[in-house]
Amino acid sequence: MAQEGLSRALRGTFRSIGAAPRPQCQRAIRQARRALLPSTARCISSTAPRPAELISETREPFTAAPPINFDAQDAAQGARGRDVKVILKNLRVVPASPSYFSAKPTFNDDYIKLTALLRKVATLPTVPNSEAPKVAWKGIDEYRIMTNEPVKTQRFHKMLHIVRRLNTIHPSLMPEEVTIAMQRYKKASQPGDVKPNPGVIDELGRAKGVGRRKTSSAVAWLVDGEGEVLINGKTLAEFFGRLHDRESAVWALKATHRLDKYNVWGLVQGGGVTGQAEALTLAVAKALLVHEPALKPALRRAGCVTRDMRKVERKKAGHVKARKMPAWVKR
């Protein structure tokens, strides 16, 4: 960072040489930032670095300042016929950023810039936090990698506090510059970016849904009907011995009083009986949502929308099971 700041400062000096006697406190264009080390050096691994690892670290682009030919510049100055005889070699180079010597110049600049921005837009009306657009902000680690500066957690959070405050500006009045400034602190992928394809009802009136639970996975097709259920070609009573499992399998329909409106074909594989039943719950609920999207809140209240991600924890070496340790034995 130090070199980068220096090179930027040098270039700034060089440009402004004719205008002002002392180029200082003028921010050069943000273009020359980079980390000192090559990005591969961060991987503490003996294996060859994978491309994904390298790409994931987003650094800002870097271009070195061009070398300065002092003699040619002097000659040019002379040719222009200026009165002031400036000897470039004698000029003191001053960093572009006043926080250059603070060890965290980028962070400090960011912070100052955000504070200034907030001061500027502080009078704009805001919405409550809960109504502000949902944004996934960069974490501290991500920010550290981006700037390559040892930013402290607390300070980072202070900065993020300002960013969040900016985010609460009423969306219809949000200034362009704030939007651009906030972009720097947003994660690459935002929640809601990935939208699943809307389900379709095919020409035969079937809607498909897929559900999983533990190690079971189920596919269900829902058609208009009168409550007939076939799972892997068997009736519900044949396939599930327990009444509880039968109820689980068609719970989405039962909870919304739609059991007599649809017929279900299910294919389910893997896992045990309970897992299969609960995988079917999810599959049937998703298929039902294709038919009637307005049922989503009711289904969510019935617990049919969220996939239960819990799975069997793996066994670890040195343990008897996932967590259990062998009994202590003297000698």
């Binding site: 009168e226 259920v229 009736t235 519900l236 009573a237 044949e238 059991l259 007599d260 034995v329």
Partner: protein, 476 residues
């Protein structure tokens, strides 16, 4: 390696020297005694002198635990059931529940309306005499839910009406034609009501003054729990089950007392004991019960009498068909398993089921398969598949895999059988039976469209056993 061996030798040498006091003073190695390489001796010394402070026993080693026996000395003082009580409890059949409500407007099945197709979808009660007859032939099963209601009543399902039609068909032969013998195998899912359908058939038979004969469990015939003997003069050897046959005779008498008492013997059966003159069939069967060793000849004579012209039609029933579709547990004199078809009673039934022997006075042969306790019988499964395909008028009948093993005799017997599939109930039937449950006070819910549909779906599209389980037995 070599150096460590060397060191060990050296230490042993020093110990050896120590054990020889005569040489000790002179030994050059005497001074090295203290610096022994092994410390195990010191560790074994146990300076505290306490016992049991040593290392815990290794895993898997057996230790003497004297205290073990002293624990749990409190004996179970509760009274154990005496021998046979548990089985009696298990097999006990309860047909009434005093806590259940009397269902108002419950009509009984009677002789006139027993075969009426308009009964479909109604719950009909069983009259006292019918219940007695059915109990005598062991048509009720402990697993069925008779003990939940005030008195036995059954739902007249679509399949029941089909059976009623069969009875009607067997009774009413067109002019100038022989009366029909109808044969059906009842198949369907587990708890779909196959045994109950046989029971309904038997009940209708009792009401219509048929002679009702029922083999309540195929397994009892072949599991070698009753004595058996070769039938003299049979080629190839057949085997009689005398006690079982005697018991069957007594069941037949109890169930059909009135009919048998009203028929006099008009053939001249050759029996090992003298028969009183002008005796009726009941007296004949009684003699078979008294002399179990002659029970089979008596049964044969009884059957001969019943198949004389002008006698009532016969209803033959068997539950648990797949048990008799292979080799039995009985052993022959050559210590080979006897095929179930070589047992006289089974052969008698199978002859009628396969259509080899007809009932001249008309009749119905019903055999129910079972799904909960049944040995695999590929011949039976395949025959049912073929029969279903034939009934559905399928263009290509299923082909037997020629490399698979099959019981050829069973295959032959089931060649042209007809199947009556006991499926799920319709929603109207489900509603009818659930209203009966509610009227009995066993189902405390409002029986409406949504409730019926929900239970119907959860019961696997109207499986009646599951429906009963879900709505009456498992009340949450």
């Amino acid at each position: 390696m070599a150096s460590s061996t060397c060191l060990r030798r050296f230490s042993q040498l020093s110990l050896d020297r120590a054990t020889q006091p005569a040489f000790a003073p002179r030994s050059l190695l005497a001074a090295t005694q203290a610096s022994c390489f092994s410390t195990s001796a010191a560790r074994h010394a146990n300076p505290t002198g306490k016992k049991g402070m040593g290392a815990a026993p290794k895993r898997g080693t057996k230790t003497l635990n004297v205290k073990k026996g002293r624990k749990d000395t409190v004996k179970d003082l509760s009274k154990k059931p005496s021998p046979g009580d548990r089985k009696a409890m298990r097999k006990r059949i309860v047909l009434s529940n005093n806590n259940a409500l009397e269902v108002p407007g419950l009509k009984d099945l009677e002789k006139d309306n027993a075969l009426d197709p308009s009964n479909e979808g109604k719950v009909m009660g069983l009259a006292e005499n019918v219940v007695d007859a059915l109990r005598a032939v062991e048509a009720f099963k402990p697993s069925q839910g008779w003990s939940l209601f005030r008195r036995p009543a059954t739902l007249m399902r679509k399949e029941t009406i089909q059976v009623a039609q069969l009875l009607k068909e067997a009774e009413e032969a067109p002019e100038g034609q022989a009366k029909k013998t109808l044969r059906r195998i009842l198949t369907g899912q587990r708890m779909s009501g196959k045994s109950t359908l046989i029971l309904q058939g038997l009940a209708m038979g009792v009401l219509r003054d048929w002679v009702v004969i029922h083999l309540p469990e195929g397994q009892d015939l072949v599991n070698a729990h009753t004595e058996y003997a070769p039938l003299p003069g049979s080629q190839p050897t057949q085997y009689t089950q005398d006690l079982y046959t005697a018991n069957l005779l007594s069941q037949i008498i109890k169930a059909n007392e009135k009919i048998l008492a009203s028929i006099n013997i008009n053939t001249n059966p050759s029996l090992p004991f003298p028969l009183p003159a002008n005796s009726n069939l009941k007296q004949l069967a009684d003699l078979g019960i008294i002399n179990p060793e002659a029970s089979w000849p008596v049964f044969a004579a009884l059957w001969k009498e019943l198949t004389q012209p002008g006698r009532p039609p016969i209803m033959l029933g068997l539950d648990g068909l797949s048990h008799v579709m292979g080799e039995s547990q009985y052993m022959s004199a050559e210590v080979k398993r006897i095929h179930a078809f070589d047992l006289t009673i089974v052969r008698h039934f199978i002859d009628h089921l396969s259509g080899k022997v007809a009932l001249p006075n008309g009749g119905l042969v019903l055999a129910a398969t079972t799904k909960s306790n049944s040995p695999t019988s590929p011949a039976l499964d395949f025959s049912i598949q073929v029969a279903e395909a034939r009934q559905n008028k399928a263009s290509d009948l299923p082909q037997w895999n020629p490399y698979a093993n099959v019981d050829q005799r069973a295959m032959e017997a089931l060649k042209d059988i007809e199947v009556l599939k006991v499926g799920g109930m319709s929603k109207e039937e489900a509603r009818s039976i659930m209203e009966y449950y509610a009227a009995s006070g066993m189902l405390r819910a409002k029986v409406d469209e949504g409730f019926v549909t929900e239970k119907w779906s959860l019961a696997g599209m109207g499986n009646i056993g599951e429906l009963e389980r879900a709505s009456v037995r498992l009340r949450v």
